[in-house]
């Protein structure tokens, strides 16, 4: 029987969830006996080579590129999982959603970040706008508001044990309920 294929990506996140994934340490050897990795920063494969069984998404959507990547994941994965608080509810990047009270919140946000905040050093007094930069979305969206998401693994990041526990359960077709100490939002 063919092994289940897994793809992973990091959108508006810090790669912390991927780092935590690496923390499963020697269990990686066990994992690759159970699954094959497709598109993922872990093996540096940039494009889907074929349809995958499981997609792990770290980070929420703060720009158009995130949306595009997420769309591709939804298209190419049978089961899509939000990994970590950023994917689940926007996390740290979504702190900018809290300043949505003004008339032009996105502008306020960019100005605060690049121009007016006390720690900004920006002699050119410019907000970065290189054509290669993807456009920002109006707010940071959790993944499930952009595409349909099947599961969520909470945590910031989810611990290596949490990730291990959930992945193994999924691959083996067992219930994914987490023991108390593994279910954390931080």
């Amino acid at each position: 029987m063919e092994k289940p294929r897994i793809a992973t990506c990091s959108l508006a996140g810090c790669f912390g969830c991927h780092m935590s994934f690496l923390d499963i340490d020697e269990r990686f050897l066990e994992l690759i006996k159970l699954v094959d990795f497709d598109r993922s920063p872990i093996n540096d494969i940039k494009r889907f080579s074929q349809r995958c069984d499981i997609g792990l998404v770290e980070g929420g959507c703060c720009n158009e590129e995130n949306v595009q990547t997420l769309q591709k994941f939804r298209k190419n994965c049978d089961v899509l999982i939000s990994v970590g608080q950023c994917a689940i509810n926007g996390g740290v990047p979504a702190m900018r959603n809290a300043i949505m009270g003004g008339d032009d919140p996105l502008k306020d946000c960019l100005e605060e970040a690049y121009l007016t905040c006390p720690t900004s050093y920006n002699p050119a007094h410019e907000i970065p706008n290189d054509p290669a930069l993807p456009l920002l979305l109006d707010i940071v969206y959790p993944c499930h508001e952009v595409v349909k998401i099947d599961y969520a693994i909470p945590g910031c990041p989810p611990s290596a044990d949490t990730l291990w526990h959930t992945l193994v359960a999924l691959v083996k077709g067992e219930p994914t309920d987490l023991p108390y100490e593994l279910l954390k939002y931080d």
């Binding site: 608080q85 509810n89 740290v92 959603n97 809290a98 707010i139 969520a152 100490e181 939002y185 931080d186």
Partner: protein, 233 residues
């Protein structure tokens, strides 16, 4: 007049006394009924509704509902816990609850309730409140975006401290917690007030300054045991 009252919670026979609420009798019997607004020493408010149980088939808040002879209470059932998850999810989406950046994380009752009920994410859109953050006081920080409207601080400041520092203003979804002055420092709020000294705020709305993230992960209140473990026998 103290009289014995016999009733049932989830099929378990419980004995309480006349005048007790379902919550009080259950606590004494070692049965935990989930709650967020209710806490020891304060008059129950019945506002979070997480303690909703069914009494003879009808919903009621366990923290305010008095016991009576022979009632049948449904507490830890699939149906009641579903409502509770919904309520916790509502509170998460109403306020600004980004656990990773919150000083209360690990000691937060809202978060702990999510853990206990097995909530992995919430279905609702965030309402992204834009409320006051008040750092004026030398010892206390208020981030009212994290308020879950349990009203503990109002009750404690009024009933335990006799100061009445806090009140709700506005109504409906625009309701806010507010201190007596625009800046907390302009009130007589003091870290020794019971409202602060007892750490009554269940979330990270009232924060003691200079203490954030002091406790390492793994040593925080709800890291290893679910909320309610102190009651559950």
């Amino acid at each position: 007049m103290l009289g014995e009252v016999n009733f049932e919670i989830d099929g378990v026979k419980v004995q309480g006394w006349t005048g007790q609420t379902i919550m009080e009798a259950a606590d004494e019997a070692g049965i935990y009924i989930p709650r967020l607004c209710d806490t020891e020493d304060l008059r129950p408010a019945g506002s979070c509704r997480v303690c909703t149980v069914k009494v003879n088939g009808k919903p009621a808040a366990a923290c305010t509902q008095p016991i009576s002879e022979g009632i049948v209470v449904e507490n830890n059932t699939k149906e009641m816990n579903k409502y509770r998850v919904d309520l916790v999810e509502m509170l998460f989406s109403e306020g600004n609850h980004l656990c990773p950046v919150c000083e209360a994380s690990g000691d937060c009752e809202l978060q702990a309730m999510g853990y206990r009920l097995g909530m992995t994410y919430y279905h609702h859109p965030d309402l992204n409140p834009n409320r006051t953050i008040d750092a004026s006081h030398p010892d206390i920080l208020l981030d009212t975006n994290r308020c879950i409207f349990c009203g503990r601080c109002i009750r404690a400041s009024r009933d335990l401290d006799g100061k009445g520092i806090f009140s709700y203003v506005g109504r409906g979804i625009n309701k806010r917690i507010k201190a007596r002055a625009e800046r907390l420092v302009d009130t007589d709020a003091d870290l020794n007030d019971k409202v602060f000294a007892y750490d009554l705020c269940p979330v990270g709305c009232i924060i003691r300054k200079r203490e954030g993230f002091k406790k390492p992960i793994g040593t925080r209140y709800y890291d290893h045991k679910p909320i309610g473990s102190d009651i559950q026998s």
